[in-house]
Symmetry: C2
DNA sequence: TAGATTGTTAATCGATTAACAATC
DNA sequence: TAGATTGTTAATCGATTAACAATC
């Protein structure tokens, strides 16, 4: 329905800010407050909400509890989301051990690799042969996968994921993946992010020097 | 001068595609070719170039070699960029061992942490006490830092970086950092990326079900 | 009621694209 | 020259913001 990525990212931010406000004891919030907390305009907040049919109370603002419920439903946070990681290298390992996902209702169900030395079925998060990806994804109704393999292997992994039934891919490999159009890809390209920072640091430095 | 992040990201993509084309033996390229390779329109390519005063040859397109030179200068790739990492945990460790940075001319010069158990001055990339950050950054004229610490520590690290003279921060902690306006921040928020994927997977699924 | 805030429409802004004169 | 491609202006598109009538 709504396909603007920035808008959805803002919904996530509203949600996070609302939890903070709630933990501070607030029960209601005005678009103005929330806008300040997230760093957007009040009009943006109201517009975003109206896009999703979320309405408040003219004069009384929004009730945080019910607002959070609606946002959580929209964002699919009403159930734990299971994801798989492919690539048990340094990055894959870091992701498996990262505990920030849990509190967001995201669970890494398993990791897959081609190297038998990495396999570990007894681990809290099992590391399995890539050949088992398809069956595992089907059996566990997984729809999200994370690609944490070297760039030369990424295209093939994306295809395997797509064939297995995965419909959303978080890709850490610095290459552009081709997938069917019903598969969504979010890229995290660290080289690109750093290169970008370098540019802005350089021009701001030059501008100052003038 | 130009402050549109998307535009700079496209320059990086042009650069990467041009290297590929060059390695295939091409010497010249038309805006149309490059646009296809990167997935934008030919008008976008020409517009981006003209924004940076890059001109080609009417009728003859652009000469890849000199184009790459100009892009590399704009993107600061004419010299190795040294960066520091703060946080020697799983993510920091993965970044230190990631070898994709080197071929992009990005060198992690050192890592810093508060936990003495992580310190290792003899390592290829030394792991040092956070107290030494400031001196190290000054001595090595570092301007880019990566935050790979838990979210509760991120704000303080950002301030230490900023005070030490760092002007660009790649932040992996899922919180919004406040820094002086001459410091550029790029955020990599994995929870947000996954949450975003979940949304799009869910709605595409629902749309199909209709 | 009077006053404040929402919900939505219209205006603005910025980025992308189309079109075409300039020109190699 | 004739033809193809650039460089740039104008048109389009989409997203953000301002404004204000509706209303609690």
């Amino acid at each position: 329905m709504i396909t603007n990525k920035n808008c959805i990212i803002r919904l996530s931010r509203y949600k996070n800010s609302l939890y903070r406000l709630q933990s501070l004891g607030f029960v209601k919030v005005f678009s103005e407050n929330l806008a300040d907390a997230v760093g957007v305009t009040a009009a943006q907040v109201r517009k975003d909400f109206s896009l999703f049919g979320i309405s408040g109370n003219r004069r009384g603002g929004y009730e945080i509890g019910s607002l959070l419920e609606k946002l959580n439903t929209i964002l699919g946070k009403d159930q734990v989301q299971k994801v798989v990681v492919v690539g048990a290298g340094h990055l894959g390992g870091a992701l498996m051990r990262y505990n920030g996902f849990e509190k967001e209702g995201i669970k890494i169900a398993a990791c897959f690799d081609i190297d038998p030395a990495t396999y570990d079925r007894a681990s809290r998060i099992p590391v399995l042969p890539i050949e088992e990806l398809r069956a595992f994804v089907k059996d566990n109704a997984i729809r999200i996968g994370i690609i944490a393999v070297p760039d030369v292997a990424a295209a093939q992994v994306a295809e395997q994921m797509s064939n297995a039934g995965i419909r959303g891919i978080l890709n850490f490999a610095p290459i552009r993946l081709k997938v069917p159009e019903d598969v969504t890809i979010n890229n995290v390209n660290l080289e690109l992010e750093l290169e970008n920072l370098i540019y802005f640091v350089n021009i701001l430095n030059k501008t100052k020097a003038k």
